[in-house]
Symmetry: C2
């Protein structure tokens, strides 16, 4: 495990690239120029690459520096997404806009929408509750929150809704698992009869899966775990195939930590919906957020 970099230093590097000098980047970071100088030098030592070309009239990134800055920007974007989501979770009380969401949507999509909302309306504090789908509906009905996001096809009575996306449950295995090399699509019956690593009963993911398996002979799960991360971990360790939201495994499949198994004959697509109280048209920030979420 090759010690992780330090986000502040990465930010500094990116800023050097954008601003053209160590001193400017230091100012942007709120530190003195020599500190920035030292930090960047430290980063160069740690990565073992020359990153910055110093000249008496400014600094530019080396070829390596530009590459590293590109990757660093990705890391920073993810970190900012985290901070945004945390803000929203924390500001539950004082928020001008209150949103409730079930887990998958909250984890992978809501932070992005909130990011754009913040771009357009920087002054609106947003509160985010993450609960299960049934509770989302209850909160919207109780007018605890203006807007909710839920998974699954059923829209509880008393709510208006709009589809804002779709999620596909996928089957993933560790790269070493026999199914990783499978060329023929897996049939629903075979999947149902296999002991799987799955989310716990009551979660939206599990419910979708159980509905899809209705009528098939279904083996008991190999493991039931309470978070997407735990399920992924178990699957990576090779315990058994796992079934998870496509959003949750996107990055892992892209980087090869998990392999997606092709699937046929079983419908694991579910729509993601925004819901709000019927006959109570959305206004202000809630309307903007819905518009953002509805965009293709």
């Amino acid at each position: 495990m090759s010690a992780l970099p330090d986000l502040d230093s990465l930010k500094l590097l990116v800023d050097v690239g954008v601003l053209g000098s160590l001193g400017q980047a230091a100012k942007a970071a709120g530190i003195a120029q020599p500190s920035a100088s030292k930090r960047v030098a430290h980063l160069e030592r740690r990565l073992g690459l020359p990153l910055v070309e110093r000249t008496p009239r400014g600094s530019t990134l080396t070829a390596e520096g530009r590459m590293v800055a590109g990757w660093a920007a990705q890391v920073l974007a993810a970190a900012e997404e985290l901070m945004r989501a945390v803000q929203a979770v924390r500001h539950g009380e004082a928020a001008h806009l209150r949103v409730a969401s079930s887990m998958t949507v909250a984890e992978y999509l809501v932070p992005r929408w909130l990011g754009e909302l913040q771009n357009r309306e920087p002054d609106v504090p947003v509160g985010l509750d993450v609960v299960n789908s049934a509770d989302v509906a209850a909160r919207v009905l109780a007018e605890d929150v203006e807007l909710g996001f839920v998974e699954g096809p059923s829209v509880p009575e008393g709510l208006d809704s709009r589809v804002v996306g779709t999620d596909r449950l996928v089957v993933v295995v560790a790269p070493g698992h026999p199914w990783a090399r499978r060329r023929t699509a897996l049939r629903g019956a075979e999947l149902a009869a296999t002991p799987l690593v799955v989310r716990e009963p009551g979660s939206g993911t599990r419910e979708t899966l159980d509905v899809a398996f209705k009528g098939l002979h279904q083996a008991s799960p190999r493991l039931e775990l309470g978070s997407n991360a735990a399920v992924k971990g178990a699957a990576q360790a090779g315990a058994a195939p796992a079934v998870l939201s496509g959003y949750a495994v996107e990055a892992d499949v892209a980087t090869g930590r998990l392999v997606e198994v092709p699937l046929a004959g079983v419908n694991l697509v579910r729509s993601l919906r925004a819901v709000w109280r019927r006959g109570r048209p959305l206004t202000g920030p809630a309307a903007i957020l819905l518009a953002i979420a509805s965009r293709p």
Copy 2:
């Protein structure tokens, strides 16, 4: 700018979730238990959320903790991708497998492929050269590297190739720009006649653009910049519309920092190809990497 979190602490949090106790997570991180205890407490204070439920027989994540751990996992994945890529760039000398790639592929796709290669063949040090497309071809021909990745349709003589993906140049503007609200697709002629923020001549991105504009009346660029990050920055600042690889702006569009403008009547799709010396079939790690990259 709300101070960035610390990756080691995030890793610790994720590990607590997976391993079920602070002490275990501490051991995994190579630190003593009280240190981990303090770090996690510190993280909780900083984010303003209770993250961990401590009991005398272990610790589990709270609801908030599971959410934060989910986002943290995304950040950590991006950071690991960075470290992998840095390793590959640095190990240029001693590598058993040498790869050259042009910028866009190197920045957004190669680290992922290398990640999977490392999963399958942990002991192969990989060297990565990032140069422009012409140089990639030269290095492959000179047998400096076994495998190259280039953008664009032209395959230089003497090379075999396989398409491993496609990239689409997209037009993006700051959210405040008039085009951000445009409903009708932009025509090629209008785009060509607009002063744009673009990459420098000689870059693959610029070349593709110039080819697509051939025959149209073309305005001179508003700005020419040497990296995708710089172009994005200028576009975000509202300078002018920018044209960039879809991979480069994916995250920014998703989070609303940039808005993609629909485009019609001009072909900005280019294929990404793996190239190798003709008549020199790939073997060993190079063959595996090609197989990984070729996967849909």
